[in-house]
């Protein structure tokens, strides 16, 4: 059973990712912002975090990714960034923050599922 954390400020997107990943071997958790995501990740050590980039609050997705990726204890958690921005510099920023993959909205749920399997392999 893989633990997957879905982080997005929009509940509808969380719902979409959740139903996309609804499978017997996945256990899905949700967080609304960067702070919640970091807190949950540190206590539950998810295998994968699907992280929205633009989120309200003090810590956006990029920062949360940077913080988690620089934490040696969190090495095992993979991160897929999910964003409405798909420009070159955004992708570069995601890579630089340490994300394992980058997914641009709108997306095909089946493709996301494939990407998740790929990252978790």
């Amino acid at each position: 059973m893989k633990k997957i954390l879905v982080v997005d400020d929009q509940s509808q997107i969380r719902e979409l990712v959740e139903v996309t990943l609804r499978r017997d071997d996945f256990q899905i958790f949700q967080a609304e912002n960067g702070e919640q995501a970091i807190q949950f990740a540190r206590s539950h050590r998810p295998d994968l975090i699907i992280m929205d980039v633009m989120m309200p609050g003090n810590i956006d997705g990029l920062q949360a990714t940077r913080i988690l990726k620089s934490d040696p204890e969190m090495k095992a958690s993979k991160i897929i960034m999910l964003t409405a921005q798909g420009q070159e510099n955004d992708l570069a920023a995601g890579r630089e923050a340490g994300a394992d993959a980058y997914f641009v909205k709108p997306f095909s749920p089946l493709d996301l599922l494939k990407k998740v399997d790929e990252v978790l392999k």
Partner: protein, 502 residues
């Protein structure tokens, strides 16, 4: 033509002036042949009475051996007509040097005076032309001056020594110095911005025909940096080799701001469109591919798709309205008579859809007042204004919708208890693409809602304004004209075209 006459000295002194010689030219001029003239008195016969004394004096002076001055007199011909001659008299001496008479030479200047007249006419005409030219030069100078005054770009002209030769009023305002003060001063003492002075000097020294550059002004007294677009060109005087530099400075801060807003707008629009599209694409694919979903869940996903499609449609409507505003074109407004209370009810309907746990408080006075309204358009106005009230105030807080007669208008207001705006934000609330909170985490929207609302209200011949206090909340007011209060050919006009310019 020359007239020559000899007069005897002894007789001349007796105030007699008998003619001794009479040349052919004189005969031709006067019409008297030599034989008729010789022996007759020059002054008595050929000079009009009022000129006789002066001619007599001229001849006497010549007789005394003194130089005579040319004298303009009329010489009478046979018909008693005067021919103007220039009379010169000199003493005539014999071989021993004794004065024997006077040689009077008359030069016919009638032609000359004709010429002179013509010359005078020419001079007169030329003078007139010159005066005309001068006044037209003055007019064109005036016109130039007018142009210089009118152009909003700053114009600074410097000479070969980089001294200020001209400042137009816009430039005076820019440098904070009058032209009178600045004239003749080195440019760097007039224009504080060193980089511009350097470019001006450089232009002349390098002999560049034209230099284009931009300078960002950061001043302590400037709220935000000013961006100046500058062109310095070498000026060659037509008549001399002197040269100088003409520098034109244009404030492009606003153009830059518009460009920046447009770029920001495109990013925002892309984001705004991607968000509903994500739900539409995602949930529709899930519905197509997943067979394990319960009916309730399928319905829920379908309603997500439906709502997001509506959100997309409203973004598109906003964009189309915007492009219409940009084009300055007419927007068709189909106004019908409608009770104010019915308009408020439409606002309530819009609120019910937009609210996220918000409470609506409705107050209607003079609800039976009849206003002219395009119902679809007013729904959009409410959607944009109420949408903001809901977006920018906490869940569960109260929004007040009120309606009240206000003289010839009916006034609506939508009050929220949200975050409110600073004065600077409030000033720009109706600007295109402007979002008071432009951070990624800001509530969604392209920054067009209030612009579109204002446009639609003004197309109704109404007015819109806001009152806001930072941290306390915002109230948006708008008015609609009361039916019959506006000159209207008939009530309930359908499909009226009202020119809508922002």
């Amino acid at each position: 033509i020359w007239g020559v006459r000899y007069l005897r000295a002894d007789e001349l002194t007796k105030r007699k002036t008998p003619v001794r010689e009479w040349n052919r030219a004189t005969a031709g001029l006067t019409g008297y042949p030599k034989e008729d003239a010789v022996g007759k008195s020059l002054t008595d016969i050929f000079i009009p009475e009022d000129e006789r004394d002066s001619v007599q004096r001229l001849l006497e002076r010549a007789l005394q051996g003194r130089a005579t001055v040319a004298h303009q007199v009329p010489l009478l011909d046979r018909e008693g007509q005067g021919v103007t001659v220039l009379l010169n008299a000199t003493a005539r001496r014999d071989t021993l040097g004794n004065v024997v008479g006077v040689l009077a030479v008359g030069q016919d200047i009638s032609e000359l005076s004709k010429h002179q007249n013509r010359l005078e006419q020419i001079i007169e005409r030329r003078t007139e032309q010159l005066l005309e030219l001068l006044s037209s030069t003055e007019t064109s100078l005036d016109r130039l001056d007018g142009i210089l005054r009118t152009i909003t770009d700053s114009l600074i002209v410097t000479d070969g020594g980089h001294r200020v030769v001209l400042l137009n009023p816009a430039a005076e305002a820019l440098v904070g110095m009058s032209f009178a003060e600045a004239a003749g001063r080195p440019i760097e003492t007039v224009l504080k911005e060193r980089s511009i002075c350097d470019r001006v000097k450089h232009t002349l020294e390098e002999g560049n025909r034209e230099a284009r550059y931009q300078v960002e002004l950061q001043g302590a007294n400037l709220a935000s940096p000013k961006i100046l677009s500058i062109r310095s060109s070498i000026m060659q005087y037509v008549e001399s080799h002197r040269s100088g530099v003409v520098t034109i400075i244009r404030d492009v801060t606003q153009e830059h701001e518009v460009d920046r807003l447009k770029a920001e707008f495109l990013t925002t629009v892309a984001h705004e469109i991607r968000t509903p599209l994500t739900s539409i694409q995602g949930f529709s694919e899930i519905l197509l591919k997943r067979t394990d979903l319960q009916v309730e869940e399928r319905l829920k996903f379908l309603s997500h798709i439906n709502r997001e499609a509506e959100a997309l449609a409203s973004i598109v409507t906003d964009l189309l309205d915007m492009s219409r505003i940009d084009a300055g074109g007419a927007s068709s407004i189909s106004e019908v008579r409608c009770e104010a209370r019915e308009v408020v009810r439409r606002g309530e309907g819009v609120f019910a859809e937009a609210a996220r746990g918000h409470v609506l408080e409705v107050t209607v006075e003079d609800g039976d007042t009849v206003v002219l309204v395009d119902k679809q358009r007013i729904d959009q106005v409410f959607k944009n204004i109420v949408g903001n009230a809901v977006k920018y105030s906490p869940r569960g807080s109260t929004v007040c919708l009120t309606g009240k007669r206000d003289e010839a208008c009916y006034r609506f207001s939508i009050q929220d208890r949200g975050m409110g705006m600073t004065r600077a934000q409030a000033k720009r609330v109706f600007d295109k693409f402007y979002k008071a909170d432009a951070s990624p985490s800001a509530p969604p929207g392209a920054g067009l809602g209030m612009t579109v609302a204002k446009y639609l209200i003004e197309a109704h011949a109404g007015k819109v304004w806001i009152e806001t206090e930072y941290g306390k909340g915002t109230t948006v007011y708008f008015t609609l004209p009361v039916a019959g209060e506006r000159s209207q050919p008939s009530d309930g006009v359908d499909g009226v075209f009202i020119g809508g310019n922002e």
